[in-house]
Amino acid sequence: MSDLQNTNETKNEQLSLNDDRRVRTLSPGALVAQRFFRNRLAVVGMVMLIAMFLFSFVGGLISPYRQDEQFYKYTDLKKEYAAVTQNADFRYLSADGKNFDSIAQAKFLLAQGKGETTFETKDATYELTEEGKDFYMISENGETVAIAFKDIVNKVADLSFDEIHAALVAYTNDEKAFTVADTEYTLDEDGNIMKGGETIGYITRFVISSAQSDVVISREYGEEVASQIAADASEFTFTGEDGEEHQYNISYDATAKVWSITEGTATYVYDSYASPSKEHWLGTDTNGMDMLTRLMYGGRVSLIIGFIVVIIEAVLGIILGGVSGYFGGWVDNLIMRIVDIFYCIPSLPLIIILGAAMDAMKLDPQIRMLYLMLILGFLGWPSIARLVRGQILSLREQEFMTATEACGIRTSKRIFKHLIPNVIPQLIVICTMSLGSTIITEATLSFLGLGVKFPFASWGNIINDVNNAFVMTHYWFVWIPAGICLLIAVLGFNFVGDGLRDAFDPRMKR
């Protein structure tokens, strides 16, 4: 300003006092612009709007992804493979030709628990001998009737009672060899019973049952599991019969005393709710689509809907308000009663009902979007019509209108060329403000699932995901950025609208 004054002063010498050039004149538009840019909030709003427009319209072009591009990932789906329990109950094997029934078994358990060496049933008296750890031999009059054991003998070849008996004696006493009927048998560390280099059976306390009906647990697998459990491992790999390596996890359930073995299978799934990363700056949504790209395209939809709705409102409002204000009389009366009626229609409930009806009709999302814009526009024009009418009522009494009449200008031209342009400032303000509120209405409807529908994104239907409480609490990146975008855009429109209102108002102090 000081520079300007200086130059003015130097010029003042040549110019006469009433020369127009002495005063720096600004056109009304420049004055408005000056007042607008002096308002800090308005400038902030302008910056916010430009940022959101760039984000939505340019961002979509820059983004490497399409709006409905889905991303996949391999995940390890844990499938229950087998369950392993450690045998805790006695099992019984009767000697050939003997019978050791369940009553006797129960009596044996009582006696064993009390540490007695004999027990009686109805017909016989049995003696029990502890031959090894958790291993008892039950005899009647010195003759072996049965054995009770917790370590289970699995047969590979056929095993006789004597062989099993001897093998268990050796196993429970940690012996490496035993002899039955002059034949040498050996026991290795894994509990394999070998006869002349050939495995005829094995002893283990683990019972493995398959969790899937189509899987047969192989012996090698069982041994591997047993040794892994003994080693307290939590995961192991095992090369199956197909020659492929599989990954297994072992988890122990202390209350049920069961080791469950789960197999990790790589499955190709949607990469849903992925956390923000280098590829996806804001993560992915429930369908495995890139959140940032969805936000950009959602912004396009929200902004375009806002603009189209406001254009519909403005066109209807200007035409009806202009006609009503210019002609007055019964036309004015009629149009204003229509405006009253529209004012009275509760718009949000009505749109919700129409949205629910469109749901019932299963409309195509694109057509639905079109209807949404038409409905919103058709319900929103009365406030603009009222504004235009009010302004025109006062303008048409002014001299320039008398002049247009005197010049014989057509009525339509008089309204739309001479009256409407004078309403433009107020129109711009009200349109900017209603852009903001239209975007909120659309977002609210989309949030309720009654507005813009998948596959189209809008800021409202992106936030829709929070209806799932788990998403709300665990995946902030799914809904908070969309809400912030919405807030920034609407706030931008309101700041700018507010700034324009002040700037257009000549009574304002600056």
Partner: protein, 328 residues
């Protein structure tokens, strides 16, 4: 004055008739999904009539078989006797359901409205008296942020902060799970506790417009001649603002406050739905989404009446409060 009120009342009734007819025609031309679903369910029961017969019977019993105009007059005849039929969704008379839920909405709305008034008016006055100061910018920005906040987003933020992270309030509903075990006082406190977040949402989201309205009107008054006169007389700034300016600002304020009184019964459709508060808003939302024509018709009519009543009230108040306004 009486003539004016009578004329406005007559006009309002006429407008109401038009509005209800438009709404009725719209509702009738929609696919009545509720009737169809019900007919489908009934027809699938063993040994039942076919779907078409059920739908015909249901349409007849609900009066949907008449033409739109004839149907409207049947509806209107019942409606003026305050008989709005039975709600399809709630299977009780509409007015009965309405009287069950309206008071909760009213209490919620009233508390929120009082808080709004207590905050918005002083802040609006401060913003106007210190125009373009830092305080003015802060208040204006705050008001605009409140206007710009989408209800659902703000409510979800509140839920995340106060319900999930801090665990102070429940996420949904009006009563806690121990409600039945509490005594009368405890039950009241429990309900109050559940209303905190919805009321907070309502206040923040709707406080902005009242604040801006106060500011604009206060500015207008401050620019008027009689304020300049008061200042020229040498009155203290305090007297000028609170004795002369604020009293004149009260005229538009009383008008708008009076006009929004009927709106307290309207309930908060979105807020109630978000917090599942069983007021008129949430009840109607469920009815509308389910295609419950009697209840929706009633709700829309009720809302229209509230709007008309609000306009009428603010016009009358304007004439009553401002002695310069004379209605011929």
């Amino acid at each position: 004055m009486r003539k004016f009120i009578l004329k406005r009342l007559g006009l309002s009734v006429l407008i109401l008739a038009c509005v209800t007819f438009i709404i009725y025609a719209l509702m009738r031309s929609l696919p009545a999904s509720y009737v169809e679903t019900m007919a489908m369910q009934l027809s699938q029961a063993p040994g039942s009539k076919p779907y078409e017969e059920w739908i015909a019977q249901l349409n007849e019993s609900y009066g949907l078989d008449k033409g739109v105009v004839a149907g409207y007059f049947v509806w209107l005849k019942d409606a003026v006797r305050l008989n709005f039929g039975d709600s399809w969704k709630y299977t009780v008379p509409v007015t009965q359901k309405f009287s069950e839920v309206i008071w909760l909405s009213f209490v919620m709305g009233l508390i929120a409205f009082i808080i709004e008034l207590l905050i918005a008016i002083p802040l609006g006055v401060i913003a106007a008296t210190k125009q373009y100061s830092r305080a003015d910018y802060a208040i204006t920005a705050g008001a605009l942020i409140g206007i710009s906040l989408p209800t659902f987003f703000f409510a979800t933020l509140l839920k995340l902060l106060f319900s999930v992270k801090l665990g102070w309030f429940d996420l949904y509903g009006i009563v806690g799970r121990d409600y039945a075990k509490l005594d009368t006082m405890g039950q009241l406190l429990d309900k109050a506790n559940h209303l905190v977040l919805p009321i907070l949402t309502l206040v923040i989201v709707s406080i902005g417009s009242l604040m801006r309205y106060t500011r604009t009107n206060m500015l207008e008054v401050l620019n008027s001649d009689y304020i300049r006169t008061a200042r020229a007389k040498g009155l203290s700034e305090r007297t000028v603002i609170y004795h002369h300016a604020f009293r004149n600002t009260l005229i538009p304020l009383v008008t708008i406050v009076g006009g929004s009184l009927p709106g307290l019964f309207a309930g908060a459709l979105i807020t109630e739905t978000l917090f599942m508060i069983p007021g008129i808003g949430y009840t109607s939302y469920q009815a509308m989404v389910a295609g419950d024509i009697p209840f929706s018709m009633f709700y829309l009519t009720f809302m229209a009446i509230l709007t008309l009543l609000g306009n009428l009230l603010s016009d009358i108040l304007y004439a009553v409060v401002d002695p310069r306004v004379r209605i011929e």
